[in-house]
């Protein structure tokens, strides 16, 4: 062994922004997260040139995965063209040389904030979700150490109590986004603030999902063909948002998740939340295979 074999030539810039040791740590943690689906794995969460809470967790996972052959799509709340999504996409392309796309079907890595695309993901695609709060127990147990013990014991009674209280107070489950879900029958995870509409898309899916919270320094994963069951009571079935009957005012699409746009006269219009799907429909292109058909989930 000589110094030559231990040192690397100087470089001004690490490929993919993250340095090699940051990437190796992410690799180790991603593998452990896949081995224990839904279990939060701590990681160091390095600095990246966007502020914590704006997608740093997802960005670090994407930068670890990316190579010049990757095709990257970045979504912010369904839209490809928001400042956050456009900036992250441009940054990834600039530091990795990867191709970018807005089309779900063409992408190999999809980094997303708060939505899962409406078109079905394939086995060769990886979904990276940005997670603001990785701890589903936080509303019922603010102490992180106690919450970890509760995960270790699979002690989730208080999660059901929380849902029960919502039903008693409001007549229905009020949890709109980040619906707590049991993964592989063992760990309850938050699926990140995706709407209830999107949670079934993670259950027994063909693709791998990596969920990464940069500010909170935790990472978890849902491998393909893994059970993701929203917490429900036997007599109160899981319900997705009532968007099946809404029509997009721009593309005429029906049966997909919609954004509500309030109008001056007090009414609302709706438009497709998955912006590139809306563009495809407007251009008369055929979308890929969809998770929902006529507003009904078809696995």
């Amino acid at each position: 062994m000589s110094l030559d074999t231990l040192t690397r030539p100087w470089k001004a810039f690490s490929y993919g922004f993250l340095d090699a040791s940051a990437k190796r740590e992410m690799r180790r943690k991603i593998l452990k997260a896949i081995a224990v689906p839904g279990c939060q794995m701590p990681y160091a969460s390095r600095e990246v040139p966007i502020a914590r809470g704006w997608g740093t967790g997802g960005l670090q996972a994407t930068l670890t995965l990316v190579n010049p052959g990757s095709v990257v799509k970045v979504i912010d709340q369904g839209a490809d063209d928001s400042v956050n999504a456009a900036s992250i996409r441009r940054f990834i392309a600039r530091v990795s040389g990867a191709a970018t796309t807005l089309d779900t079907v063409q992408a190999t890595i999809i980094q997303s904030r708060h939505r899962v695309p409406e078109e079905k993901l394939r086995a060769d695609q990886v979904l990276v979700l940005q997670v603001p709060n990785p701890e589903p127990l936080r509303p019922v147990e603010p102490n992180m150490s106690v919450a970890r013990q509760m995960h270790a014991d699979a002690d989730y009674g208080r999660m059901w109590l929380q849902l029960y209280e919502q039903i008693v107070r409001s007549g229905r489950v009020m949890q709109g986004a980040s619906y707590p879900s049991l993964v592989n029958g063992r760990h309850v995870m938050t699926p990140s603030p995706i709407p209830r509409w999107d949670v079934p898309k993670l259950n027994m899916a063909k693709h791998l999902t990596i969920l990464s919270a940069g500010r909170e320094k935790r990472l978890f994963a849902v491998p393909p063909f893994t059970r993701v069951e929203p917490l429900v009571f036997d007599d109160v079935p899981y319900r997705v948002e009532d968007h099946a009957g809404l029509t997009c005012h721009r593309s005429g699409a029906r049966g997909v998740f919609m954004n509500e746009i309030p109008q001056e006269d007090g009414t609302s219009l709706h438009e497709v939340s998955d912006s590139q799907l809306g563009v495809k429909l407007l251009n008369g292109e055929a979308p890929g295979e969809m998770w929902y058909r006529d507003g009904v989930f078809r696995p």
């Binding site: 190796r24 690799r27 081995a35 701590p42 190579n67 010049p68 063992r186 994963a221 491998p223």
Partner: protein, 180 residues
């Protein structure tokens, strides 16, 4: 004018190895391709100064040291490069680190050579597998599967990679293995 950054050979190899390992672990039992044969590649993609490695193969000691990882006894290691062909090796593996219910990520990653597509018939079920999957793995001592069951009290456990040349198969702790 910006030029597209290009990864050097080492970065390309580590990235390709990681993709193979990630696919192998998220789809247990499926055969994935490493960019080159050998366990050294896995060590290069995963290990550095933060890791403690163990190997029973003298030829691997220098490459493992070159990653910066500390070489430690089997019971303290988080990455094990071992041969699991003998009853004694499998018995020794029984003392490997399995993590805890609080921190399952403390469980060791075990990399072992095996012959893929020959030998004992196994049936896998669990996350990452659509229904069930059958495969044959050779060069492994039959007591391994009972030892693995004892180690993997989910979510505690060890995660296995079997390598055969450039081919790799992953077996995370979440997978149930049935012999036959």
């Amino acid at each position: 004018m910006q030029t597209a950054p290009h990864p050097d050979a080492r970065e390309q190899r580590d990235n390709a190895s990681f993709h193979a390992l990630m696919r192998a672990l998220s789809r247990p039992g499926t055969v994935q391709k490493l960019p080159e044969p050998g366990a050294v590649l896995i060590a290069a993609a995963l290990l550095d100064r933060e890791c403690r490695a163990y190997t029973d193969d003298a030829a691997l000691e220098v490459p493992l040291r070159q990653t910066g990882a500390a070489l430690v006894p089997l019971t303290e290691a988080d990455h094990l490069f071992v041969t699991l062909g003998s009853a004694a090796a499998v018995t020794a593996l029984g003392a490997a680190e399995v993590g805890s219910f609080l921190y399952p990520d403390g469980g060791a990653t075990v990399i072992a050579p095996a012959r893929i597509g020959e030998g004992a018939q196994l049936t896998l079920t669990g996350p990452g597998i659509d229904g069930r999957l059958s495969l044959q793995l050779g060069d492994l001592h039959p007591s391994l599967w009972e030892a693995r069951r004892r180690l993997c009290r989910y979510p505690e456990g060890i995660d296995l990679f079997f390598i055969d040349g450039a081919r790799v198969i992953g077996l995370p702790r979440s997978t149930a293995v049935q012999e036959g």
